[in-house]
């Protein structure tokens, strides 16, 4: 005999495990026991088999692996005695589940036991089958179970009925075999058989419309009668629960009647009387009675009814709602939610109570109530309800604030009747629970603010006030910093003062202080700090006298460990130092967003990404995967995002600055990899954000804009090429260096057109009624890949063009370098021209010819004009 196996009895093992003081000790005991059990199993020790299995079950409950005992269950089940089978089946249900292959091996034993002469053994087999059978077993053993539905002993019939439920859930095709037997169970007197029979019928109806029709026709009357009998039955001690005879049977009958009455006026009609009786006569002072009422209300609300019963049902729910028992209130809220679709008006009557439930101390009730209240809000009651909710936000639990904030924001957005109300409410939410506000919510807020031009002053002052009282809430800080940057002048001068406002005196110094606080807050994250840097740059132009101080703050980030901040800090510092004259143009106020584009993009950003990526990427010879869609329009889209044209059509752009979503051009790269982390979005935001000031500028800024143009497609195509989560972070160091050179003004000087460059004919790249663009080409000797282009712009109209700005974008195989233009003013009627030099390097020289997308923006008669064109007709071999 094995020296280990004779060891401990089950009771001793449990005692030993319970005596363990630490988890490690417990593991040691269990390991020792498991080793002994394994040894015993290996010896095929029959005497201790069921003791071993009992121990294993205990070990399994504790959560240790016990798979090695699975075969022992099978062996015990296959043995002849009842005790072995009993423990074997128990182990089977505990140690295995339907997904284990081993289970198939038990099918044969089950079949034998289902036909056993001992009814208890039949019962064990039915129980195991009902609890863990797989679809295959269900198919194999369904005939046995079907036969057992007519077994002489009711206790087997009820087990067989529940077993049938499992079978038809696993194999719905088998449902029709059970319809007749199930119907006959409904006539039984034995309560166990009756409740299992009713349950079986309900489940049959769910999987088979044929069964539903059959029961509806043949059994509705009988079920109504059974329910009436049980409702009116005298006291019977065996089934009595707090004064009600068999509430379980009540509930199951009501449930089945609900299924039969749903969508069938005739069947519904036949059950109205008894439902009314249950609804009015059931005692509601005990849980059992309430359980029945609850089920009855649900049935009333689901069946076809003219409304008389529904009033009764809603009244019951009203009573439930005012019950002191939390359980009852919980189910009432739950049910009222379903009732809103039927009779919203009736539910509205309980609004005040529901609002109280939102403030309950019980998390489950709060959650239900909030969801219900969310459905009840409409135009008429939104203001007082939001007021209440926001007031509650101040005192609610931390863990509830997330849900609550999301719901408030969604409601405020949905019912934003007036912009000022929307802004007010959002500011309150931001001040109370800004840390729970999702990105798209505050993005949307900024969008609304920028659109409400008459409220800019009001908003920035309100935000400033809120910011002074609390800097705890990250999103409040962000929105405040953004607004101070944009509308700082309005803050200081009290522009656009509304009647309702208290006057406030803010000096320029205060405004800069606020942003400085934001950037130095140690809890500020990258996004906030980046936004604060941009705000500072903007303020430097709004408040020229504080330029030096702002420069001081910006310079402090020169050594920031976060590369993006460091880079921005250095760049902005350069702008402040060396580009004074263009600064004001650089940091103009953001153009107003186009509402339709914004909402369209918000709604459609995801589908767009998917549809764009469906164009299968084709592999280029150099192994760079490129989307099948033409790169040029993509580039153009991208640059249109980058460049805020003076006209409003460039309105997409600020959204990118806000990081609302990635531009469609970035979507193909984004779609191929997991959703970008927010920092990625942020990095986009930063790189685009800096391109803004630069590109609205005049001639000198072209240097910057060209380098930015280079950079954007570069990042984009890198993303495409690798399809890995290559963030803009990786690309920025590459670009940082040339960029700084450019800023330092050390860019290559204007190229002299080479004499031998005339080998290529000049090209009228673009001609419209108002403007002509000529390209002259030349090559530097020794570098055939590089083409120098001199662009000449001629004004064909009779008006002077101011703020003339030429921009160009090229696909990835090209590299573009733009030199400054000779001027930014284009005299009228061809009376002079602007020239600008471009350097294009073609990495696929000889294989592909040049292609370029250009965009020209200028002002004439104080009107902004934007012209775009794709140039494909470059000479070959450039």
């Amino acid at each position: 005999m094995n020296p280990f196996s004779s060891g401990t009895r089950l009771r001793d093992m449990i005692r030993a495990i319970r005596a363990c003081k630490t988890a490690a000790e417990e593991r040691a005991v269990v390991r020792k026991e498991c080793a002994a059990i394994r040894a015993s199993i290996n010896e095929d020790d029959q005497d201790y088999r069921h003791r071993n299995l009992a121990k294993l079950m205990f070990i399994q409950i504790l959560g240790y692996p016990t798979h090695f005992g699975q075969m022992e269950c099978l062996k015990l089940i296959a043995s002849a005695g009842f005790p072995e089978k009993r423990i074997g089946y128990l182990g089977l249900m505990l140690l295995l589940d339907e997904r284990q292959e081993v289970l198939m091996l038990v099918t044969n034993s089950l079949k034998q036991d289902l036909n056993h002469s001992n009814q208890y053994i039949v019962g064990l087999a039915l129980c195991a089958l009902g609890n863990i059978c797989s679809a295959e077993m269900a198919r194999d053993l369904a005939p046995e179970v079907e036969r057992l539905l007519q077994f002489r002993d009711p206790n087997i019939r009820k087990k067989a009925a529940l077993c049938s439920i499992r079978i038809i859930k696993k194999v719905p095709d088998l449902a029709e075999n059970f319809i007749n037997c199930a119907a006959s169970l409904l006539k039984e007197k034995h309560h166990g058989v009756l409740i299992t029979g009713v349950q079986l019928c309900a489940d049959l109806c769910k999987v088979s419309s044929e069964a539903l029709e059959y029961f509806r026709k043949k059994c509705t009357e009988g079920l109504v009668r059974t329910l009436r009998d049980i409702v009116n039955s005298p006291y019977s001690p065996e089934y009595d629960i707090s004064g009600i005879t068999d509430p379980y049977l009540h509930i199951r009958l009501l449930k089945l009647l609900r299924i039969l009455g749903q969508g069938d006026a005739d069947a519904s009609d036949r059950m109205t009387d008894i439902l009314a009786q249950v609804a009015t006569k059931t005692e509601s002072n005990k849980n059992a009675g309430n359980a029945i009422l609850y089920e009855c209300v649900e049935t009333i609300m689901s069946i076809e009814d003219d409304g008389g019963l529904r009033v009764l049902a809603i009244n019951i729910l009203g009573k439930f709602l005012s019950n002191r028992d939390n359980n009852i209130r919980y189910v009432a809220l739950n049910m009222l939610m379903r009732a809103t679709t039927l009779d919203a008006q009736a539910v509205q009557r309980h609004r005040a109570t529901i609002l109280d439930c939102v403030k309950d101390s019980d998390a489950s009730i709060r959650k239900r109530a909030l969801e219900l209240l969310y459905l009840l809000v409409n135009e008429n009651n939104v203001k007082p309800l939001i007021k209440e909710l926001i007031e509650y936000l101040e005192v609610s639990d931390q863990e509830f604030k997330g849900d609550l904030t999301a719901k408030i924001c969604s409601l405020v957005e949905k019912f934003s009747l007036e912009k000022i109300w929307y802004i007010d409410q959002m500011l309150k939410v931001l001040s109370e629970a800004g840390n729970f506000v999702k990105d798209e919510v505050w993005h949307a807020l900024i969008f609304v603010i920028s659109n409400a031009s008459d409220l800019h002053g009001y908003t920035v002052r309100a935000l400033y006030r809120a910011f002074l009282t609390s800097t705890e809430q990250e999103t409040l800080v962000r929105v405040a910093v953004w607004c101070i940057g944009e509308y700082g002048d309005m803050l200081v001068n009290n522009v656009g003062m509304l009647d309702i406002e208290d006057p406030i005196t803010v000096t320029e110094c205060d405004a800069v202080d606020a942003v400085e606080v934001a950037i130095k807050r140690h809890t500020s994250d990258l996004t906030t700090k980046a936004m604060a840097l941009i705000a500072l740059l903007k303020l430097s132009s709004r408040f020229p006298s504080y330029s030096e101080r702002i420069k001081g703050i910006i310079v402090q980030n020169k050594g920031n460990l976060v590369l993006e901040l460091q880079q921005r800090s250095i760049e902005f510092n350069r702008i402040l130092q060396k580009h004074q004259k263009i600064r004001s143009a650089l940091v103009e106020r953001m153009p107003v967003l186009d509402e339709a584009t914004f909402s369209g993009r918000r709604a459609g950003s995801l589908p767009t990404a998917i549809s764009t990526s469906s164009g299968a990427p084709s592999n280029l010879p150099n192994g760079i995967a490129k989307p099948a869609t033409a790169p040029i329009p993509d580039l153009l889209d991208l640059s249109s995002d980058d460049v805020p044209a003076p006209s409003s059509s460039g309105g997409d752009f600020p959204q990118d600055l806000l990081g609302v979503d990635l531009s469609p051009t970035l979507a193909p790269s984004g779609a191929g990899k997991p959703p970008k982390a927010s920092t990625d979005v942020l990095l986009d935001l930063l790189s685009i954000g800096t391109s803004l000031p630069v590109q609205t500028g005049s001639s000198a800024s072209d240097i910057l804009s060209s380098s930015q143009d280079d950079k954007a497609p570069f990042a984009n195509f890198n993303g495409l090429a690798s399809l890995s989560s290559l963030s803009a972070n990786a690309t920025s160091p590459v670009n940082a260096a040339p960029m700084m050179d450019l800023l330092d003004g050390h860019g290559p000087g204007p190229q002299k057109p080479e004499e031998n460059g005339q080998a290529y004919p000049s090209l009228v790249a673009y001609e419209s009624s108002s403007l002509r663009v000529m390209f002259n080409f030349s090559k530097q000797p020794g570098s055939p890949q590089t083409t120098l282009i001199q662009a000449t712009f001629t004004n064909l109209s009779s008006n002077v063009y101011n703020d003339f700005l030429f921009q160009a974008a090229v696909p990835k195989f090209l590299q573009l370098h733009l030199d400054p233009a000779s001027s930014n003013t284009l005299p009228a009627s061809g009376d002079g021209s602007i020239t600008q030099n471009l350097k294009v390097t073609n990495s696929q020289h000889g294989k592909k010819s040049l292609v370029m997308r250009v965009r020209i923006a200028y002002k004439t008669n104080n009107k902004d004009v934007l012209e775009e064109r794709q140039i494909n007709n470059f000479p070959q071999n450039l």
């Binding site: 009895r9 069921h50 009842f82 009993r86 423990i87 009902g130 529940l162 077993c163």
Partner: protein, 165 residues
Amino acid sequence: MIHFVLLISRQGKVRLTKWYSPYSQKERTKVIRELSGLILTRGPKLCNFVEWRGLRVVYKRYASLYFCMCIDEDDNELEILEIIHHYVEVLDRYFGSVCELDLIYNFHKAYFILDELLIAGELQEPSKRTVARLVAAQDSLVETAKEQTSSITNIIAQVANTASL
């Protein structure tokens, strides 16, 4: 339907688990951990329902034990409370004022009783007396079988073995 039944002690020790829907061993451990975190921390006067992964868990505390049943969203929570109580009453009758220790040392008995109450996650028998009678009948079958083996084989080791169960 009931997806699973859990008995957890106030200290978070699992006393009984019964799974009517398939959960792998890993998932089971996770479910138990999540739920004991959710349920054991709830105050005494709160409602007995917890929303969890789109399902509802109905729990009720008896002395040091939490009886938990996980159900679908459209099931009747109040009825489940009755079913839990039903189970507790049957246990009480069987063990004679049941305590946690009874359920630890006789966990298999607790399972046998549960199997007479629920199959496939549905209630099987509303009568406590019937459940008690059926369990007792099967217990006596085991006793008879034991006596037979002991009289036939008469080996002391086996007596010790069967007595342990």
